[in-house]
Amino acid sequence: MGDIKRYVVRRALSFLPTILGVLILTFLISRVIPADPVRVWTGGYKARPEIIEEIKKRYHLDKPLHEQLILYLVDVFRGNWGVSPMSKRPVLVDIAEYFPATVELAIVSSIILAAVGIPLGLIAALKKDSVIDHLVRVVALIGTSAPAFWIAIVLQWVFYYYLGVLPSTGRGVAPPVRYTGMYLLDSLLGSRFDLFLENLKYIILPGITLAFTGLGIIARVVRNSALDVLSSDFIDFAKARGLRGLQLYRHILKNSLIPIITILALEIGYILSGAIVIETVFSWPGIGLYAVNAINSLDYPAIMGVTLLIGLVFIFINFVTDIAYAVIDPRVRL
């Protein structure tokens, strides 16, 4: 396992320049918005010139651009991501409040996605061109083509309005002690199983909606990748050796994992960067709506904070994916 450790360190180091690149791009993008952000922050209509000047100073907007960039980089590494003029709180505090909601939703929907999507794909591959295969294709097609908004409203109508078994909106009840900011995990850590079950009800509908949108892609990728594997020589050999059922599935799955992990990682990255429509319909206080509000109100510190966060999330997911490849396929480590 020695070379795996070395591999991890090498990969980690190679991401450092990428992080710097993300930082610089984040900074530059936020400076080309064609409006004066200060006026927006000070409330527009009735703003007074003294206050405008004061805010310009506080956010270094009166300095030349390269100085602003250096001040920004120093601040980011010091953990000072600025104060959002809209929420009046440090951006990191805002992120710490909203990002766990997104992470929690991403975990639940990824579990649903993997638990439903992978078996669907495998079944479709094994029963190629059968009724099941076509059925999976139709489900996949609906998942990809139906607007998330529509699915969300339909689910809400059925499970909340008509059946009355699930709540409509919100995250549920905050556990008394906050460890991670994720309600489900914190309920478990605080041994509050009643709250865990209660909060589970709130996350089911947004989780399913979010999973449904990625389901089609996952099922298709698993099917194609499994078909590739199925047609390879070693499967024929395995079949000839008399392997059946689960034993055979294990071989198929393991060898078709790389593309599945790639697409799953991309899906998770997408979910983590915020699913705005789903957050809106279910009043789910995640990072997506926060980002949209920040953009709409030209909230520089928040825009930069969220962009940086999403950049880091993608870098981290790529990193984990790379390591996963290496674990699954030793050839990658070379």
Binding site: S14, G21, A35, R39, Y45, K46, L65, L69, Y161, F282
Partner: protein, 669 residues
């Protein structure tokens, strides 16, 4: 592996190239942006607005003459002009309107004030720096198990005034469905209507409006008030036995007169968005606490007081308190010094920024810093009002509970929950299911909540007048909007009825001037009632001398307001059809829109204005100010036309008649 390495290299290379480009070109780009956003001062010669009634030497017959004489009119520098503050958003320079606005501010005579605002209304209908479109109606949708509901134009309602039937689901809880959360619960900070609603349940002010009455204020933390003859010094008797309830440290703190002075000074020191409501009118340095002896000695010389339409001169505390019918205990006395006599000061003192905070709480948690918000007060409100905040979970809900120490007694509804549901269709679903008692429903979706019942209960859809005025602003610094006849041509080419039926689903009434229907000073009997009239529009266009083929207009609207976008689209087609001019519509993100609005970088924009406090000055000032300063404005009244020339030079004066009164505005002699 090679792939990711290459990607990293490409990203860095891109970043560096971007950085170089950014550093070299960005400063230039920013400069050009700035240059284009400040309007070039003289594209076309700006003609001085022709005053409505041509200066006439013949004085009309009138039973009364009101003379407004201004001295040393000075146009304010272009750079110092702030729309909605010292200039109307259409940037029309107008000393006559400014003199009228100033006169309306300083006069304390109610009937004279009314006359002045009647005149302002007429002038705003004729000058048309803004074309008045509609006054929107408000839609309220709630279940019939809520009783005694009412709506106040500025503060909506207070939950302790309501009650809930015992058979309602959750009879002790009032659940409100809202769309977006507010900005802050600090009354010195926020200018957001939804925040104001919550603060209204928690904090109180010296005076208050009783339910939906907008005619006069009633005692709240002050039990009585009086003022000197000049009306620039106001005295308040503070209610005794009132406590702040601090749920965060579970304690009560008695209200003292010091809290009142402290609260006003705090707003001014912090100097944030809503601070103008205090700063503009109150001199906080000379606003002080008085001892009983000091107040009694001032009273003994005689003070004036008005309450419920009656007025009285009083000279003793007993006399003052009995006029207000108060016999309880008193916590002390406060003198509020005004910058100038301002008749609607009591309405200003009833607004949210004039809320009374506890000096002890604020001083224990960060105090007051100039130009800065207090992060503790942002979400730790401590007030004397009927409810206290239990929990504010961001973007999910606010929970308030009945204050057991409230001086009027604990309210009957135990809890208020404000649920934040951004999606309209989800909110409607929750309302129909009975999980919400009342919810925000956009006018366009009202049909979805009509005739809804739930186990014998009915969802009530009520439509009430509001003070929101939708208007089209014309940039009078630019050609051809600097031409009054052209502006009138535009006003005659607007299908007001179509706008009401399409953009407002029928829930609006046409507006004719700056003052909304239902407000003091409103009149619609001596104004021009613009309609869609092609002949009139074409005639005005010919009069203006503007060649329609040479005109290309861009209408800007902020994103996210469907009614504004619809108005703009209707204007586009009707102006093109009736006048043959080229019209484009541009929907801009709110920040970009605001930037153009404030710098005057637009042709035409569409927006709405709502009340900060109930007085026509809150409309006339921001929407019609003319960009002038005077060293003095004086008002004289007479019944003899011969006396007019004693005060002003009649040759250059502007005369506005309303009914049998003539208002004559001119430079003082």
């Amino acid at each position: 592996m090679v792939n990711t390495k290459m990607i990293a290299v490409v990203v860095i290379a891109l970043a560096i190239v971007g950085l170089i480009i950014g550093l070299t070109y960005l400063p230039i780009m920013q400069k050009t942006i700035q240059q284009t956003s400040t309007p070039t001062p003289t594209i076309t010669p700006i003609t001085t607005p022709s005053p409505m009634p041509q200066p006439s030497i013949t004085i009309p017959q009138a039973s009364k003459y009101v003379i407004i004489a201004y001295r040393d009119p000075q146009p304010i520098d272009r750079e110092s002009l702030v729309p909605y503050s010292n200039i109307n958003p259409g940037f029309l320079r107008d000393p006559i309107m400014d003199a009228l606005i100033k006169a309306g501010r300083i006069t304390t005579d109610a009937s004279l004030r009314k006359t002045i605002y009647n005149a302002i209304q007429k002038l705003s209908n004729d000058r048309l720096s803004l074309i008045w479109i509609v006054q929107a109606r408000e839609v309220r949708v709630y279940w019939d198990w809520i009783k005694n509901i009412y709506f106040h134009p500025t503060f909506v309602y207070r939950v302790d005034d309501l009650s809930k039937e015992p058979y309602a689901p959750n009879p002790n809880k009032f659940v409100i469905g809202e769309s977006e959360e507010g900005h802050s619960l600090d009354p010195a900070v926020t200018y957001w209507g939804f925040d104001w609603f919550i603060i209204h349940q928690i904090y109180e002010r010296l005076v208050a409006y009783e339910r939906d009455n907008v005619d006069y204020v009633v005692p709240s933390l002050a039990v009585a008030w009086a003022h000197n003859e000049e009306s620039d010094e106001w005295y308040f008797v503070i209610r005794g036995n009132v406590v702040f309830y601090d749920p965060w440290e579970n304690r009560t703190i008695p209200l003292t007169p010091d809290d009142i002075v402290y609260s006003f000074r705090r707003v001014v020191t912090m100097h944030l968005d809503p601070s103008w409501l205090i700063e503009e009118f109150i001199n906080v340095d000379e606003t002080v606490v008085l001892s009983e002896d000091e107040f009694k000695s001032i009273l003994s010389k005689g003070l004036y007081t008005e309450f419920k339409g009656e007025n009285r001169k009083v000279s003793s505390l007993e006399e003052l308190l009995s006029f207000f019918g108060y016999s309880g205990s008193v916590a002390g006395f406060v003198k509020v010094k005004l910058n100038y006599p301002y008749a609607p000061i009591l309405s200003v003192l009833a607004t949210i920024p004039a809320s009374i905070v506890s000096m002890e709480v604020v001083e224990q948690h960060g105090g007051v810093k100039p130009g800065e918000e207090n992060p503790y007060l942002y979400d730790h409100p401590v007030g004397t009002g009927p409810y206290y905040l239990v929990e504010w979970v961001h973007r999910q809900y606010y929970r308030l509970r009945a204050n057991p120490y409230y001086w009027k007694g604990k309210p009957s509804i135990e809890e208020i929950e404000l649920r934040l549901i951004p999606e309209d269709s989800t909110r409607i679903m929750m309302l129909k299911k009975g999980d919400l008692d009342i919810a925000l429903i956009p006018p366009s979706l009202v049909d979805q909540v009509k005739d809804v019942t739930l186990g014998g209960n009915k969802l009530i859809v009520e439509v009430a007048p509001s003070f929101w005025i939708y208007h089209v602003t014309l940039n009078c610094e630019r050609y051809p909007f600097n031409n009054t006849a052209f502006r009138k041509a535009l006003a005659w080419a607007i299908p007001y009825d179509t706008i009401i039926s399409t953009a407002f689903n029928g829930l609006a009434d046409q507006a004719y001037g700056v003052i909304p229907r239902g407000m003091f000073g409103f009149q619609d009997d001596d104004i021009t009632r613009y309609t869609y009239n092609k002949d009139m529009a074409r005639k005005m266009l010919t009069d203006s001398g503007v060649d329609p083929k040479s005109v290309s207009i861009t209408i800007i609207v902020p994103q996210g307001y469907s009614e504004l976008e619809q108005i703009a689209t209707i204007l586009q087609s009707s102006w093109t059809e009736a006048l043959g001019i080229d019209v484009k519509v541009q929907v801009l993100s709110r920040p970009v829109f605001n930037e153009k609005l404030m710098s005057g970088d637009f042709d035409v924009q569409v927006l709405a204005w709502g009340p900060d406090y109930i007085d026509p000055d809150d409309y006339a000032g921001p929407l019609q100010a003319g960009g002038y300063t005077f060293s003095d404005v004086a008002i004289y009244t007479t019944t003899s036309p011969n006396e007019i020339s004693k005060y002003i030079d009649i040759e250059d004066a502007t005369i506005i008649t309303y009914k049998d009164v003539a208002i004559i505005v001119g430079e003082a002699k």
